[in-house]
Symmetry: C2
């Protein structure tokens, strides 16, 4: 079914903010610099800068290529991709800040709990940072993080309905081989960020992550998890903005030390082939289940930005089963039976 | 959402027919050797044998590995995979003959025109042959074919409703580079099979194929088409059984001569990288759009049989655009703008 948002067009220069035209487009809601929208945009753009800087520094050879685009309907984005570096084979860090009228199908795809609602057309605002970092070395893990903020106005056919806002996001680690100290370090950093806000956050969002990154047809998870939350609006809005900021700022300390330890570890063709098989699972999850991806495909978003999450290379062998007790088997076992790492 | 058919189990020996238990399971409908069900099963099993023989002969090195499985609910299948041969990196030829009670979601996935119906539980019979053949040489095309036959009984909550049957299938070619003589030969063989039955078949099913193998989010087709039809029941049942048989028998003469011409063509790393990018598109189509695949994933079918269609290796580069006028560009252009080949 065709559910299409107008096509994005490349633009030559990064604007200071994608919100400039927002007030005019939506009529009445203020987007002053103190609004949550404006501060969220600033946060994700700062995070994009600092993560890209840290990746380039750790890579030592590759540089991010930047594409800036705008949507005639409202807003735009900045896609940055580093390809074929020394450490990463593909690293994408995208921000987008878009608004307009959301087709009902897109609304249901965007909001998990609305899957069975049938709303009319809804004015929306959506901003997010999304990143997938695929290293070359099979002992160095893939990292994904994504933090996003949504607002909807009242549906046009129900003008009295309340406005809504919600936060979503998470950071998760996908190694091909388990190094306990790496996984513990990663999860500890997630817990540290969570614990600054609410002691229930880490256990709750850790489980949510294990549940979300589930490849149902394989009965296994994509990786070793981290944190994930969605449709979050039952806390103070300012608190959740600070929490999302803290999570985004935790990406570098959680990930870069692991990369430094593993990027030069010698490996064999067999190690590489196993990494490629796990990359195949990554592709399966993203194309079949991931809400961000399916949302993007449905709404006709910028395909290259959406699918930059896919690895440079992947592999599918028929009926591959790692030998019981092997390092490959241990990884698979942890994907089938999620563990507590701290 | 959990829509699960009972898990298949491996069995040691190929049965002469998977239909033996059918009458008992469904009560009353005869599956004697003259039934369409029984003859369709024989046809697809003969086709599996002859295609596998032809592939092994052309490959010269690889052999098919066979897995036989049965479903406690009824029926089973034979999966054959040749991996890492001399000519093919992955070749899968599967037959399945299954029956039981179909969950409503699965029924909607199986029958395109039923997408918006909400039937109750439906007794069904489904048999098919499905094959994807991925060669190593980037100048040798991938082939896919699939022929299937469905029957449903009246839904349990509407005992008076009519029984239904329909045929579906097709054969299509996915090269990474265009050799006009190959594509013409392939389409001519499809037309020849069609013309034996109805002069309207080839033009109609050629267009249906172009429409079906459409990667909407890329605005391009997976390959250079062939024939495709689905939900076909508005012709004589015997005629359609003969037609499906003719199509299945056309696979070898349509494909093997092309492979013989291209399997040893020298190629560069750049040719291989382009083939890998096109394989990425193959993965995108199969996981996001293909009805057989999404049907299989929803119903908890045998995952290794379903995903054997995925290539051994695939590649995704950010924002790759072939140079205008290049051989790669010509292929892409033909995937964007389907052509008449004969």
């Amino acid at each position: 079914m065709a559910v299409s948002i107008e096509k994005e067009t490349p633009i030559a220069e990064r604007p200071d903010s994608f919100l400039t035209a927002y007030d005019k487009a939506t009529g009445g809601i203020s987007s002053g610099s103190s609004s949550v929208r404006a501060r969220f945009e600033k946060m994700i753009r700062d995070a994009q800068d600092s993560v890209c800087d840290a990746i380039e520094k750790a890579d030592g050879a590759g540089n991010f290529k930047e594409d800036v685009w705008s949507r005639p309907g409202g807003g735009g984005g900045i896609s940055r991709v580093l390809q074929d570096g020394a450490v990463w084979e593909k690293a994408g860090v995208n921000v987008s800040v878009v608004y307009g009228i959301m087709p009902p199908d897109a609304y249901r795809a965007a909001k998990a709990s609305a899957a069975h609602q049938k709303p009319g057309e809804i004015p929306f605002f959506a901003a997010g940072i999304s990143s997938v970092l695929h290293p070359k070395n099979p002992f160095a893990p893939t990292l994904h993080f994504n933090y996003r903020y949504f607002e909807t106005d009242a549906p046009k056919d129900a003008p009295g309905a309340p406005r809504q806002w919600w936060f979503g996001g998470g950071t998760d680690l996908t190694p091909s081989y388990i190094f306990e100290e790496d996984v513990k370090h990663f999860h500890s950093e997630q817990k540290k960020a969570c614990d600054k806000f609410d002691p229930s956050f880490y256990p709750r969002f850790k489980k949510w992550c294990d549940d979300y990154f589930y490849i149902k047809h394989r009965n296994e998870r994509r990786g070793l998890g981290g944190i994930f939350f969605d449709d979050l609006n039952d806390y103070d809005q300012e608190m959740l903005l600070s929490f999302a900021t803290e999570c985004a700022n935790s990406v570098i300390p959680a990930y870069i030390p692991i990369i430094e330890r593993r990027k030069d570890t010698p490996f064999t063709e067999q190690h590489k082939a196993w990494q490629q098989l796990r990359r195949g699972r990554y592709v399966e999850f993203n194309l079949v289940y991931d809400r961000g991806t399916t949302f993007g495909l449905k709404t006709g978003g910028r395909i290259e930005s959406i699918l930059v999450s896919l690895p440079l290379t992947a592999r599918w062998e028929y009926d591959h089963k790692p030998e019981e007790g092997s390092e490959e088997w241990k990884l698979l076992d942890a994907c089938i039976n999620p563990r507590e790492w701290i």
